[in-house]
């Protein structure tokens, strides 16, 4: 009986004070839900008297480098993928005296093909793309699609016609950024339509650009337009010419062209920054009819102030559908409208549920 009681008391004591007697340990676990896959969760089992922990990680060369000095027992850090890494913890007491040292097991991380945290984005992408593709296929089957009139787009032909009548040139600036910007690509598509008009009316076209790649693709675009209008003889590579990559030097050069050549129509279509007002004001001062278009919200006010017509945001991206008669583009506009309607509906539902303190719906739209 006494032996049993003694054994029970001993087990109880070991259970109660086991924590204090346990050695220092560090555990590294890979966070599997991460897309980059290189996140590791660190858990430190403390040793008695320790309060500060210096955590280090191993390099391929065998050296140890510092990760963090902390008082926390759990935290996360990133390591290089596909490289076996170990973590070491050095425990210090409040006087910064080393009271223990431990090394974790080897961990290896690898990049993931699918990030579960971004599933909502994936679903949205499929839904949006699917809707747009469906309406493109409908448009191809000769289903008529109505597009409301946009004043700026109707003025394109009028502006080129005016330049032809006055015997002056048409100036087209496709923004100041490179081809990795969607606005630049959209600007070049619009350039194609404007070049068709200048080819038809035999008006002079001048396209200054600030990026070499834009110059090349601009030349291709203009040449294709002149060919499609049956006027390759009017095309010249010098129509699209490069000045400089520098933002304000380019603005100074375009202003110089405006003042000297006095174009009758100025198209500012693309990605613009602070130079937008400088160009638009100069165009205004020479009395040119100006049609601007950009997706940059901060530059639209300047164009609205100084230009005759401005394509605001999405109007600018929809311009190519308006100017051409391609069912693919018309269908995509309709598809995007349907997507917008779905998003407005989601927004309405979300607002109502939030008002009644129900948050699950809003949480569906959270993402990392």
């Amino acid at each position: 009986m006494i032996v049993k009681r003694t054994a029970c008391v001993l087990f109880l004591l070991i259970g109660l004070f086991g924590f204090a007697f346990a050695g220092l340990a560090i555990e590294a676990q890979v966070e599997h839900s991460e897309a980059d896959g290189n996140k590791v969760n660190i858990t430190i089992t403390p040793v008695e008297g320790s309060s500060i922990y210096i955590v280090q990680k191993s390099l391929e060369s065998g050296e140890w480098v510092s990760v963090v000095e902390t008082r926390e027992l759990t935290f996360s850090t990133n390591i290089s993928n596909d490289i076996s890494t170990q973590f070491k913890v050095i425990a210090l007491d409040s006087d910064r005296t080393v009271v223990g040292e431990a090394i974790s097991e080897l961990v290896v991380t690898e990049a993931k093909w699918f990030n579960v945290k971004r599933t909502n984005r994936f679903v949205a992408l499929i839904l949006i793309s699917g809707t747009i593709l469906y309406y493109i296929s409908r448009a191809k089957k000769n289903k008529k699609i109505y597009l409301r009139p946009v004043a700026g787009l109707q003025a394109f032909e009028e502006a080129v016609g005016r330049a032809t009548e006055m015997g002056r040139s048409v100036l087209f600036v496709p923004g100041i950024m490179d081809l990795d910007q969607v606005e630049t690509i959209s600007g070049l598509i619009i350039l194609g339509h404007v070049a068709k008009m200048t080819a038809r009316y035999e008006a002079e076209l001048n396209v200054p650009v600030s990026r070499s790649l834009v110059m090349e693709s601009g030349r291709e675009t203009v040449q294709a337009s002149y060919l499609s209008e049956g006027r390759p003889d009017l095309f010249s590579e010098d129509m699209v010419h490069y000045y400089t990559d520098d933002q304000f030097a380019f603005a100074a050069a375009v202003d110089g062209v405006m003042l000297r050549e006095k174009p009758a129509a100025v198209f500012l279509q693309g990605k613009f920054y602070a130079e937008s007002l400088i160009m638009a004001e100069t165009g205004n001062s020479i009395g040119a009819i100006q049609i601007a278009g950009t997706g940059s919200p901060s530059q639209i006010p300047f164009f609205v102030t100084a230009c005759d017509y401005t394509l605001i945001g999405e109007e600018f991206f929809a311009a190519s559908a308006y100017l051409g008669d391609d069912p693919k583009l018309l269908g995509s506009i309709k598809g995007q409208d349907i997507v917008k309607a779905i998003l407005m509906l989601c927004l309405g539902i979300g607002v109502l549920l939030e008002t009644f303190n129900i948050h699950f719906f809003k949480n569906l739209f959270v993402g990392s």
Partner: protein, 277 residues
């Protein structure tokens, strides 16, 4: 001392030349414009080559290595580098340190996938040879396709999903002020979105909704315009401060002297132009 004075005179001359554009297009503006364009074009080309192409492309294809340690394919690969070194020594340097010959650029890890980028870059240069100029379209197609694909996710994530999430706000928060703020925001987003409906005719009640949307946009544009103008005025004040500083004795009265000279030249040229007309 003299370089500082010379710098001040150049700065004043170029500033006044650019500002002279407010009067009309003139010889000073043309000169400043051409200097600006020429210098910046050359500067950008140089920066792009030495900061991007040389270290990030050639440096990844041929990172610096000890020639004696090369064998097999690496020996052949660095043999090509040596050939390039003979042709373009500054771009593809070789150096001897403590009697050891090193070949290559920088210390980035070798990545031969950059050969793909290198080939696409070379294709762009084929524009200079009309017969094979069409190959440059492959490079352009890659850049455009890559940009469109890469941006698709970013825009959808931040401009669509993120915005919708941020706008899902309660109509009543328990406080009048924040509730009104939320309602203004939600109405603005919904009506603003509706303004960009292209396949629906905006008439009747829909026209009212669309109008409210455009009013919201115009209020934003007005505020943004005012904010930017304030920023521009502070830039102008900065330039004027420099002009005032450079008008002192220590800069040999750069601002007043150049201003008088330019005004005289402009008056004389304008008079001459009128006489000729």
């Amino acid at each position: 001392m003299y370089t500082g004075i010379l710098g001040a005179w150049v700065a004043v001359f170029l500033t006044l030349s650019i500002l002279s554009y407010l009067y009309k297009d003139n010889v000073f503006y043309k000169l400043a414009e051409h200097i600006f364009v020429g210098v910046s074009a050359a500067h950008w080309a140089t920066i792009a080559f030495w900061n991007q192409v040389q270290p990030n492309l050639f440096g990844r294809l041929w990172p610096q290595t000890d020639v004696a340690s090369l064998s097999g394919f690496d020996k052949f690969w660095y043999g090509i580098y040596h050939g390039l070194h003979v042709l373009f020594g500054k771009v593809f340097p070789e150096e001897t340190l403590n009697g050891v010959l090193y070949r290559g650029i920088g210390d980035q890890p070798q990545n031969l996938t950059y050969l793909f980028a290198f080939i696409l870059g070379v294709f762009m240069l084929f524009r200079l040879i009309p017969k094979i100029g069409w190959l440059s379209r492959w490079s352009l197609a890659y850049v455009i396709g890559m940009a469109a694909g890469l941006r698709l996710y970013g825009y959808m994530s931040s401009d669509v999903i993120g915005q919708i999430h941020a706008t899902m706000l309660p109509l009543w928060t328990g406080h009048l002020g924040s509730s009104i703020n939320n309602i203004i925001l939600i109405v603005g987003v919904l009506t603003g979105l509706f303004y960009f409906f292209f396949s629906v005719e905006h008439k009747g009640a829909l026209k009212v909704v669309s109008r409210i949307g455009i009013y919201y946009l115009m209020i934003y544009f007005g505020a943004s315009f005012g904010f930017a103008v304030m920023g521009r005025i502070s830039l102008l004040i900065g330039r004027f401060n420099d002009l005032i500083e450079y008008s002192g004795k220590q800069y040999w009265f750069a601002t007043p002297i150049l201003l008088i000279v330019m005004v005289v030249v402009l008056v004389l040229t304008t008079r001459k132009e009128k006489e000729e007309a």
